[in-house]
Symmetry: C2
Subunit: 466 residues, 2 copies
């Protein structure tokens, strides 16, 4: 095996034994595993050769890039791990057509930096941006904090290159905004978690860089009041709200514990803390008015002042500098670190219709203690798109109780028309949920597609599909 | 057969012989065919029963809704046509969550009207909107004039209900903005032209209704100058350009011929005529300024005035009333009617990288006469997204020459990184192009998926896949 693989990528890029330590656990160290080997190809052709070899020898392959997934999609027991980290070239950033052409191993933050150098943005962003790589970002259809305005990963991809389960290279690196020539295979592979192909490169859509941001922390008396704030801000800004993030009191408290000396959002503690960010591109909007204010900040302050008068906003702080804005984002992006600060966790990444989020959280206040009286939820939510990270620190160490927490959560989510996996995907952690809750016709269709494209079950077997 | 079908839908809804006349040709009467029967189910369950019957009896089914396709996707020789026209209920339009839930037989214009009643829009629009129905709109991933701002059909759909080739009903009518629970089957069925399933209902995304539109006809000295106009307008409006439509001189002349007495866009004829529309939602932008102008019109006029000074705009007329705006749209939307006013036509619906459109048209000025000296192009283009409807009135009546025109067009398109089918799809008319030009690995993958999901080749056989 090792000989075959070194023949493809060279001696230095096949790792075994203790050299694979870095690849033998996930980011939050929930899963530990022992890949047969880690192979690090440098080109799409090498990826193709490895996949063909895997088919010949019947060896399961687990593709990995930044390894920041939260659902166990990178577990690699009895499999060869195929790391895309060496394929890290940003091939092109083009201003006129607003695209970036990047390889799978490029770190998300490096895409951000390359776009900004040409006064554009790649809007997709989330806590793990400094490690997450484009291959995994696409394979999990990552979401994050800007979905409200710019959509999920799939909405930001024009074309892909991928190695299919049979080892063929499929080059559909289109730069086109319209292309109706057959089934949309790009959307099939995006979010397929490496089970239908290994994405090796992509054409990404860039957006004009907002000329001004207004960012604020707002304390609201309730979640419905927070939703009202969102709707009024969307109306006042013509839909320019980019982030609308909910942090309950316990998130703030936990943040202060892991970052002693960090700034508290308000002088007093509140239950419903919202971080809101508005971005505007039109230069006319970005010209400071006679009062010296950039109007976009004005919109935000007008709405906040009015709602403060009405009592529908309890307190608000608008960032007055880039440093203050950064503080607000860091507080939100610490969510994964906070969750991991106490183990074990039961992780639920769920989506609900917007107007059902408050209902769900109320129901769980009764339901959760019934399952595990000492359980403690540690929640943050992308409130603007109905996505709650409903993490629980269980009181019990019994894994059956952990499963029961997850089942109870899902049950309530599905009753309200939601999804048991909003943006983290399925991996292995949500396989029981797929089995229990996924529409059976959809599931059967997925299995038929997987069997047709990967008859030897080579690519990331045992993931996504129960 | 008739007995089986009437048992499912009732006597009145199975048509044969001369009763099928309406369903025996496409909209532009390019294709004529004789369906074995036309069956008109009223419910998803009836659609399912028909598909199961088709599998049992090995009868090909051709789904049809508004029958406004331009690629022969509805041709039904030796097949039963399944018309969705009776499934025409708008089930819900919800303001708070900005969605419409509609059945496949709802006419696009009726979706527009229902959304507008609640001060929202369903932005997708094109010439055939008064006949095209949602089922076909989704199955062809229709484009149109607003893609620049709002995306293609697939970008405006949250969930679907579909009957799969085996007759199973797949209900994935999600209202969620994030859902990463397995392969994205919605995107697989959208644009599959009824070959992988019959879409019976959908959850559509609505948008806030722009508070103000500014619409103008602009004469530019060249296509590159027109592109410069687009970029400057996007910058001045923060990306609020909704339509940017190119009409060459011959389109205007042809329009005057089919609509005698219609208004000419300018006093003098120009080669490069652009219809541009900007829409703004923010109320602050829609408040008339001290000069009585709504600022969005101001943006447009500022840019146009400046470019007129520079000589990069030759003439411009801004619509001063809804009637004038309507005139401008009618002139553009007459494109299909103009093309059809002289038969036969060679229809090329192509997409190019934005900065290659002018290059392509220049090349074709030389290339087309080499293939057919008397051929005459009748072009319109969604210039903002690189989509050209490169229709040709051939000089020769020889079908081989028509094929040669199409092949020459495709060859030049693909050399420039474009697509031979931007928004009209494949149907039967582009099957030779799929065979010749589609990425062979992608094509083989599509065939594997079709074989896996429709092993009896029941749904719309002979379409999309060569």
């Amino acid at each position: 095996m090792i000989k075959d693989l070194t023949a493809i990528v060279g001696d230095a890029y096949v790792l075994t034994g203790s050299d694979t330590e870095k690849w033998s656990h996930d980011w939050i160290r929930k899963y530990h595993y022992s890949p047969l080997a880690v192979v690090r190809p440098a080109t799409t052709q090498e990826v193709s050769d490895i996949v063909k070899w895997a088919n010949r020898t019947g060896t399961p392959l687990v593709p990995i890039s930044g390894n920041t997934g939260l659902a166990g999609g990178g577990r690699a027991d009895g499999a060869v791990m195929l790391s895309l980290d060496r394929m890290n070239t940003i091939r092109e950033v083009r201003d006129a057509s607003r695209i970036a052409i990047v390889e799978a191993g490029v770190v998300l933050a490096d895409v951000h930096a390359a776009a900004e150098q040409q006064d554009m943005i790649f809007p997709l962003t989330f806590g793990a941006k400094g490690s997450a790589m484009i291959g995994g970002v696409l394979s999990t259809n990552a979401g994050g904090s800007n979905v409200l305005r710019y959509g999920n990963t799939r909405d930001l991809v024009l074309g892909i290159e991928a190695v299919l389960p049979n080892g063929e290279i499929m080059n559909i690196m289109s730069e086109l905004h319209k292309d109706n020539s057959g089934y949309n295979l790009k959307h099939l592979l995006i979010g397929a978690e490496g089970t239908l192909g290994i994405i090796t490169a992509a054409v990404l859509k860039l957006h004009p860089k907002p000329k001004a941001y207004a960012t604020a922390m707002v304390a609201a008396p309730s979640l419905p009041a927070a939703l009202d704030l969102l709707n009024r801000l969307q109306e006042a800004t013509g839909g320019a709200v980019e982030a609308f993030e909910y942090m309950p009191r316990h998130h703030i408290e936990a943040y202060m514990q892991i970052k002693p000396g960090a700034r508290e959002p308000f002088d007093a503690p509140y239950d419903v803390n919202i971080m809101v960010e508005v971005g505007v591109t039109a230069p006319r909007d970005a010209t400071p008015g006679p009062d010296g204010q950039i109007p976009v900040t004005g919109y935000l302050e007008d709405v906040l002042a009015q709602m403060f008068e009405e009592g529908t906003v309890l307190d608000a702080v608008v960032a007055q500098s880039q440093a203050q804005r950064q503080d607000m984002w860091e507080r939100r992006e610490a969510a994964a670190e906070i969750a991991m600060s106490r183990l074990p966790i039961v992780s639920n990444d769920i989506a609900l219709p917007l107007d059902k989020v408050a209902t769900f959280l109320e129901i769980m206040e009764t339901r959760l203690p019934q399952v595990d009286p000492a359980a403690q939820p540690v929640i943050v939510a992308h409130l603007g798109d109905g996505n709650i990270h409903y993490t629980v620190w269980p009181g019990s160490q019994d894994e059956d109780v952990h499963d029961a927490i997850m089942e109870a959560t899902e049950e309530e989510v599905l009753k309200l028309g939601g999804s048991f996996s909003a943006e983290h995907g399925i991996g292995t952690s949500k396989l029981p949920s797929m089995r229990r809750r996924k529409n059976p016709v959809a599931l059967q269709t997925m299995k038929a597609i997987k069997a047709a494209l990967d008859p030897n079950n080579i690519l990331n077997p045992g993931k996504l599909l129960p």
